[in-house]
């Protein structure tokens, strides 16, 4: 902001002259504000200064990575710590991969085993001399029970 009365070529000198007179009149008016008003303004100013935002230093924030057993060892700064943090990451990722692959393998193995069992059962039923319909016949059930006794 400038401390001079700004002029632009488009504005007529009469307009500026009038504005200047108004400005002078307004300045005169504010210089004679009542003491109660100026006191309150001064108090407001002091209050505002008391609440001034403090100077903020520029800090680069870096997240700290901490894990059980290696607490505080993964701070950036020197090559040793950097390589350590890399190793820590690999140390987490590899067991995770092994865990996922292992779980998938177990699931597939169990599924294959279950299919084999069902296949064996189906084969046994189908290759039996007794026809399947015999098991649905109540008379045959009675015959088996009597013979079983």
């Amino acid at each position: 902001m400038k401390n001079t009365f700004n002029h632009t070529p488009l504005q007529s000198s009469a307009e500026l002259e009038f504005a200047y007179k108004v400005r002078r009149a307004l300045d005169e008016q504010v210089s004679s504000l009542p003491a109660s008003t100026t006191d309150r303004l001064a108090a407001a100013r002091k209050l505002a200064i008391a609440r001034k935002k403090p100077e903020t230093a520029l800090y680069a924030t870096a997240p700290e990575r901490r894990l059980a057993g290696v607490a505080g060892s993964a701070r950036g700064g020197n090559p040793f710590n950097d390589s350590l943090s890399w190793m820590v990451r690999v140390g987490i990722i590899i067991p995770l991969i092994v865990l996922v692959v292992g779980a998938f393998g177990i699931y597939k193995y169990e599924e294959a085993r279950r299919i084999d069992e069902l296949a064996d059962l189906d084969a046994a039923v189908l290759s039996d001399e007794l026809p399947l319909n015999a098991y649905l016949d109540h008379g045959f059930d009675t015959y088996l029970n009597k013979h079983g006794e």
């Binding site: 902001m1 401390n3 700004n6 009149a25 504010v30 504000l33 008003t37 303004l41 001064a42 209050l47």
Partner: protein
Amino acid sequence: MATDKELSEFLESVERRAFKQAIYAVRNEESALDIVQDAMIKLSEKYGDKPKEEIPLLFQRILQNTILDFFRREKVRNTWVSLFSNMVTRTDGNDDFDILENFESEEGSQASESSADKVEREQMLTILDAEIQKLPARQREAFLMRYWEDMDVAETASAMGCSEGSVKTHCSRATSALAKSLKALGIQL
């Protein structure tokens, strides 16, 4: 960054004009003082760490926004008041606020030591005050920022949130309206 001293000096240099700007807008001394205080605190709390060159423009923006906030709050308050006043019996309110009467009574308190010329000058200033207050809000803001706060067209446009062309138009219309009304009242600045 502006130091405490620089900020204090700036606020001291601008506080009276800010108060007048607020009083032109809200027409109430207490509210105007509150607005200036709020604007000063906001500036200091939120922008106290800014370079001192940026402070004047920021302060004008904050002041204008605080005045707008005041009107928004008033609008909400008036809505509730009118809602309840319809329910209860009406009493004689003093809604018809006459700015000339108001300013004359204020003048009366400090006119004791004046000579004839001084009284005349004071009356002229009172009328000027009233005429500035009668200007449309945007024209008055542009006029005061431009010619009283020494802001250039771009700065005024930025503080008012409008184009530079609008600022020029507002200023020109305000000057013309003010000149006409003072001439009609026979006032010579």
